[in-house]
């Protein structure tokens, strides 16, 4: 098996707020290889976005504080990295796409200007991106950057791409803007792409197109992707793997089909039963009682225990360790081994 592109090990993060210290990431473990699309799902406040931002080094500390753990990207620990090094990685090795395509483009510059800037910056640290040698002239670099910008726009499916380089963001629709941002994220040929709710602001039909595009790009560039979303449907349609998060922990992870068809953690099971699918009768949807724990004073032990139907004294004493219930399918629940090992033996 190939080495993981990204390895997050036991990552702890807390935030200082007016009310005290909130322990928002509580020992995250995640491994992403090339060609894998990892869906990171969970409800509001579970830490999925902060995990993504931590990988791109965009969590400012203070107010945040990392207590231990490591984020290894191609073997290099990003947490110990200097800002200078992170600047070189972001946009070149690690690409990012965010939720709202409107606020992430500058309205007073043309799409072309913005893409060329990114291409030039990427070209400055790696001239191969532009297809030039080290000593190329400024004019040659600029010409190459513009050609690359046009190629990338074409690749993400914008019709008449080269002519549209001179258009402004407001001349594009929401879905088209998201395509522009994908083009921008991919210009530096990143090895890892972090997409934070890239389709939440879009209509369903456009969402399907953007997710298709994302899959095509993964095939073409052989990237690893972390797709952050709260929509399990999107995960099922797009991802190869999924990690389910709850209150700062990854509670279950594994190949997407295995996890969604045979969810083992009580939280994942509850989540699956809360989705209105074709076979759910009116009124039969399962709403999970209770609410997400306050991270200022999280419960000791399993953070899901207060809402869990299976909770026993053991759940409240210590954080359950990951158990592998099937190849690569890991579950952090003390009740799972008994439940699954018998059926799996």
């Amino acid at each position: 098996m190939s080495n993981p592109l990204l390895k997050i090990r036991n990552l702890h993060l807390s935030m200082h707020s007016f009310d005290g210290k909130a322990h928002v990431l509580n020992g995250i473990n995640l491994e992403v290889k090339r060609n894998e699309i990892w869906g990171l799902v969970g409800e509001t406040g579970c830490g999925k976005s902060l995990t993504g931002l931590s990988v791109s080094g965009l969590v400012s500390s203070p107010p945040a504080e990392y207590h231990g753990g490591e984020i290894l990207f191609d073997g290099e620990d990003l947490l110990g990295c200097h800002e200078q090094r992170l600047l070189a990685l972001r946009g070149n090795k690690i690409g990012m796409i965010f939720q709202d395509p409107t606020t992430n483009l500058n309205p007073v510059f043309t799409i072309g200007t913005q893409l060329v800037d990114v291409a030039l910056a990427a070209g400055a640290s790696d001239p191969q991106v532009l297809g030039l040698t080290v000593g190329a002239s400024g004019r040659a670099r600029r010409r190459a950057a513009r050609a690359l910008a046009g190629d990338m726009l074409d690749k993400v499916g914008i019709p008449n791409a080269r002519a549209r380089l001179d258009d402004y963001p407001h001349q594009f629709s929401g879905g088209m803007r998201q395509r522009v941002l994908i083009a921008m994220a991919l210009i530096g040929r990143p090895d890892l792409l972090i997409a934070d709710e890239p389709t939440t602001a879009l209509d369903v039909s456009v969402q399907a197109q953007i997710l298709d595009l994302l899959r095509q790009m993964v095939d073409e560039f052989r990237m690893g992707v972390i797709l952050i979303t709260h929509n399990l449907g999107v995960v099922a349609q797009t991802c190869s793997h999924v990690a389910v998060m709850y209150a700062g922990n990854v509670v279950e992870s594994g190949p997407v089909r295995r996890v969604l068809e045979q969810p083992a953690h009580p939280y994942t099971r509850a989540l699956m039963r809360a989705i209105p699918t074709r076979d759910v009768k009116r009124g039969a949807l399962f709403g999970l009682a209770g609410s997400v724990p306050n991270l200022l004073s999280p419960p000791t032990g399993c953070r899901f225990a207060p809402r869990c139907a299976l909770a026993s004294p053991a759940c409240h004493s210590a954080l359950p360790a990951d158990r592998e219930v099937a190849p690569d399918h890991k579950v952090a629940c003390v009740h799972v081994s008994a439940m699954k090992e018998t059926s799996y033996a």
Binding site: T44, V204, L232, G233, R257, I275, T277, L285, G287, L288
Partner: protein
């Protein structure tokens, strides 16, 4: 109960210093009939005219042509007093529970306000209004202890319950639900949807449920209409529309739904 007949709405274009914009036809001859006690789903993407139609039903916008009849009365012919009475019968729950509650009012004030506005129809004293507010809160799964708290003390799902309690306060017969769960997490969404179903069964309410989430519409609604660029392109019983979509648009939308199941 509600009849929308050939309603069109044209927003005039603008002529300004920096050029002009053309007029926009937001609704083109939309007709709908919603029967008493039914859940009617209106599905459309952004810019399809869902909101304009909702605003027309509430008479916050006046249609350019066509008629909207509620319980046999044409909204356009009503006197201001009659319109006020009518508004106690049609209530709305908005999409964003964080924006639709006044942060400076307590839950008690929020829920009693519509009863105060419609006191002529309801005839409740201050004491009775407070009692009804407590009743409504328990109806939506909150308690009397929540009456004197403020919106910021509640989670998104709880706030949406407060919005539902407020909508039910003047005893409406028709409730417009404008994407009531799209700002909520799945597990909370399930709670709110079940609450809406429970309330409908208990109080005999009629729902007009506006959404772009087909899964939620399929779960909640008896009948559904799809709206595209101001026109209804398909309408029918929910199961029929989802299983045998006729129009190309319906087929496209249904196939674009992100499914959790694997084929």
């Amino acid at each position: 109960m509600l009849e929308v007949e050939q309603v069109s709405k044209i927003f005039p274009g603008r002529k300004g210093l920096f050029g002009s914009s053309p007029e926009v036809q937001a609704l083109k001859g939309v007709s709908l009939r919603i029967a008493k006690g039914e859940s009617f789903g209106l599905v459309g993407e952004s810019g399809s005219g869902k909101t304009t139609l909702t605003r027309s039903i509430l008479r916050l916008d006046v249609p350019t042509s066509g008629r909207i009849m509620f319980e046999g009365e044409d909204l356009a012919t009503l006197t201001p007093a009659a319109l006020r009475h009518l508004r106690s019968k049609i209530q709305i729950v908005f999409q964003d529970p964080f924006a639709s509650l006044n942060p400076r009012m307590s839950v008690h004030d929020i829920v009693t306000e519509p009863m105060l506005v419609h006191r002529a129809e309801l005839g409740l004293s201050a004491r009775q209004r407070s009692d009804r507010a407590a009743e409504l809160l328990s109806l939506v799964g909150l308690g009397e202890q929540h009456l004197h708290r403020y919106p910021h003390e509640f989670s998104g799902g709880q706030r949406q319950r407060i919005c539902v309690a407020r909508a039910l306060a003047p005893k409406p017969s028709l409730v417009l639900l404008d994407e009531p769960t799209s700002a909520l997490d799945v597990s909370v969404q399930a709670q709110v949807l079940n609450l809406l179903i429970d309330l409908q069964d208990r109080l005999g309410l009629t729902y007009l449920f506006i959404s772009h989430d087909l899964g939620v519409v399929r779960y909640l609604c008896d009948r559904v209409a799809l709206i595209l660029r101001g026109e209804i392109v398909e309408e029918g019983a929910t199961q029929a529309v989802f299983e045998h979509p006729q129009s190309a648009y319906a087929k496209m939308l249904i196939s674009a739904m992100p499914q959790v199941a694997f084929s």
